[in-house]
């Protein structure tokens, strides 16, 4: 998706590769497994440092859980990167039979974004300075955030890469580098753990 937008993207599987990128995408998967692999591959410390230093980051689904400051029902040994001041709940919509796709109204986007939620988390609390870009009715009928931004950090509870619509990737490049996203050529990266 990033290649189509004119920026380089590569899989980051170790600390040296992490040092060479200008922005990071933490994709979906199982957050417990990713958390464990960050530890065993020696990437947890370096990634935390780069996030403290202010590297732009986009977390989707499990990536949102990892980037969040707090997980309400996570395992006690799960690692948080603390890149954005939100509290999230895992598997907030139920099990796989409750996973769904829907057209989501996103602030600044018209028409709506087709979003795929797979055993998705939800944002229970967004801190001061966190902007909610999209929200949806949660398990208890209350509207809660599913797309947020804080500075150069963006998180989505759904999988923007699954529906073939590049607009959120574009939005990330814009907030990450504060310029026209479609003309960039700098090397960017994603984790592939």
């Amino acid at each position: 998706m990033f290649e189509a937008l004119g920026v380089g993207a590569s899989a980051v599987a170790d600390a040296p590769a992490l040092a060479s990128v200008d922005a990071i995408v933490i994709p979906g998967g199982e957050s417990t497994a990713i958390s464990r692999l960050l530890e065993t591959s020696g990437m947890l410390g370096p990634l935390r440092r780069r996030i403290e230093e202010g590297i732009p980051a986009f977390g989707t689904c499990a990536g949102m859980i990892l980037l969040a400051g707090e997980v309400l029902d996570g395992r006690p040994d799960q690692h948080q990167l603390g890149g954005i001041d939100i509290s999230v709940r895992r598997n907030a919509f139920g099990r796989q039979v409750d996973s769904f796709e829907t057209d989501l109204d996103v602030k600044g986007l018209d028409p709506p974004f087709h979003a795929v939620f797979i055993r998705a988390p939800i944002v229970e609390r967004a801190g001061v300075g966190v902007e909610t870009l999209a929200s949806i009715e949660g398990y208890d009928g209350t509207r809660r955030a599913v797309l947020c931004r804080q500075g150069c950090r963006m998180v989505s509870a759904f999988h923007p890469e699954l529906s073939g619509d590049p607009r959120l990737h574009e939005m990330f490049l814009t907030i990450a580098f504060d310029r026209d996203a479609t003309v960039g050529t700098a090397s960017r990266s994603r984790t592939n753990l």
Binding site: G29, T32, L37, D98, T102, R119
Partner: protein, 298 residues
Amino acid sequence: MTDSEQRRRTGTPLVKRGMADMLKGGVIMDVVTAEQAKVAEDAGAVAVMALERVPADIRRDGGVARMSDPALIEAIKAAVTIPVMAKARIGHIAEAQVLESLGVDYIDESEVLTPADEVHHIDKHAFTVPFVCGSTNLGEALRRISEGAAMIRSKGEAGTGDIKEAVRHIRSITADIKRITVSDSAEIFNWAKILQAPVGLVQEIAETGKLPVPLFCAGGIATPADASLVMQLGAEAVFVGSGIFKSSDPVRFGRAIVEATTHFKDPSIVAKVSRGLGDAMRGQDSAGVETRLSDRGW
């Protein structure tokens, strides 16, 4: 509320395949108790397969192998936060319905259990829960996909700890995919005839060069190097059945196979996790087995 998001659609092909996409690069482990499920989750499994007996024991015990007790599946679901899969017999619609009602995250219509129907597989489009099915070749894979499978795994020869059948199946599937990508439009129709598969799916492979759903590997993975091997051959994730809890040290084997699957391209990491690991499951040569599970399925 008048939001456009009000229409939420569950159980669509995109939602089913998206779930499989999230397991890519990971290890799905067979577990028979809630304690084992926790060990698997701690080891970094991306999902567990809940069943009463691992394939090696099913093979040893003989008799008819059926869906697991719902109480066992519920106990395993309650023990972990990662996805839980369970097996239904080939063609056993009612077992699949029961598993769906239990809220399992994926159903494996599996040759490891004794088939319930010698002609038909389950119509998987009729379900909200996604299905994975085993295949030995591309034709079988495409027939399962046409029935609604959202993930394909090699069958291998489950419960043997012998990797060669899984290698044969993955190689057969990927080799035919490669051949189709260099076929002309007239040859595509012949491929559909040879494979006994819908021509639309063959055309899709010709265009994309890959299966329309994720391809995982199962059946005989017993060591970290086995996992690295099948990932290098084109598998996108691995199922480990008997290989973990029939080894001398399940905790270490589980972690080692997870790391080897993630870093399958890096032999130094596979070497590191293999060092002093202990005994892999004893296993048996798949050529000598009495019951070939991989022959089940049509």
